[in-house]
Amino acid sequence: MLFKRFLPLIIFGGIFLAFLVGLTLNPREIPSALINKPVPDFSLPPLEGAGVGLDTAALKDPDNIIVVNFFASWCGPCRIEHPALVQFENMAGVKLFGIAYKDRPSHSLSFLKSLGNPYDRIGADLKGRNAIDWGVTGTPESFIIKNGIIRYQHIGPIHTVQMEKILTVIADLQAEDGS
């Protein structure tokens, strides 16, 4: 009898909790299905006359945590996250690789010239086909890779708050080695 009386309240509580969680989720963030999967097979040419390009083998580097960042000169948020990317440059045991998404190489180059180039290597994904293999829905998007396995994905620009999260992820991955 007591249960019957409180049943509506219990149902309300259940729905309330479901909404409380559900409404804080962001439907725009579509997680890649590639988390904890090997990086896709690819080989991208370098930006015209700059560096060596990027391929799968480079991401299987056993000595470093790899951050792969999809960017484009036409993408405003990419400009915003640039200061965050610079932080990876001198980080021990971390390498930052860039993939220029659907961007004219000359535009990518002048973008990097004006802001500074934080990337160790850059591949040019002219048609955006490679990005689809990664489950990328737009720029900027970043992946953290260890031993050729995608371990973390960040969708959207990296602000200070997200950078903290990313740094913990990297530190955790580096700590795995010790065990």
Binding site: I30, P31, S32, L34, R129, I132, G135, T137
Partner: protein, 154 residues
């Protein structure tokens, strides 16, 4: 002649409507193109999310349409093409969520609610009239009742 004008106008405007979302690289084989279209209709545009990639002009949707057509042309089955998409973007890319353990509530929830509602409706319809006289009227009350009824008659 005038009775033809309106249908003619409608026809003219509907032609432009059909032209939206038409790609230049449609498959030449109409059967293949139809199959590609039916697959595209099942795929969510990941940029403008409540549209299928057929209805969207977002860059990514255009690219995905290209991939679907390519794979249809290469003779891939519908299932293989959908798998290509879900292995990259997860089940979210399917406009119709697949039936599996994680989506059980989604698929069976409405049926479950219908059964609960049905049960209450059934119980309501089946119930016996519950107006029960708790006490018979006393002699005084009976007299007064008859009086009121008589007054109403006149």
């Amino acid at each position: 002649m005038r009775f033809l004008l309106i249908p003619l106008l409608c026809l003219t405007f509907s032609l432009t409507a059909a032209a939206i979302g038409v790609d230049k690289d449609r498959l030449s084989d109409p059967e293949q193109e139809a199959r590609a279209q039916s697959i595209m209709k099942q795929l969510r545009c990941l940029v403008c999310q409540n549209q299928s990639i057929v209805e969207s002009d977002a860059g990514l949707a255009v690219d995905l349409r290209g991939i679907v057509r390519e794979q249809v042309k290469a003779g891939q089955s519908d299932r293989q093409i959908l798998h290509f998409m879900t292995s990259r973007y997860g089940d979210w890319v399917l406009l119709q969520p697949p039936f599996k353990a994680a989506t059980l509530l989604l698929w069976l929830g409405p049926l479950f609610l219908l059964l609960i509602g049905g049960y209450f409706v059934f119980r309501y319809v089946r119930q016996k009239p519950t107006t029960v006289l708790t006490e018979p009227l006393t002699a005084d009350e009976e007299k007064r009742l008859q009086q009121i009824l008589r007054e109403n008659d006149t």
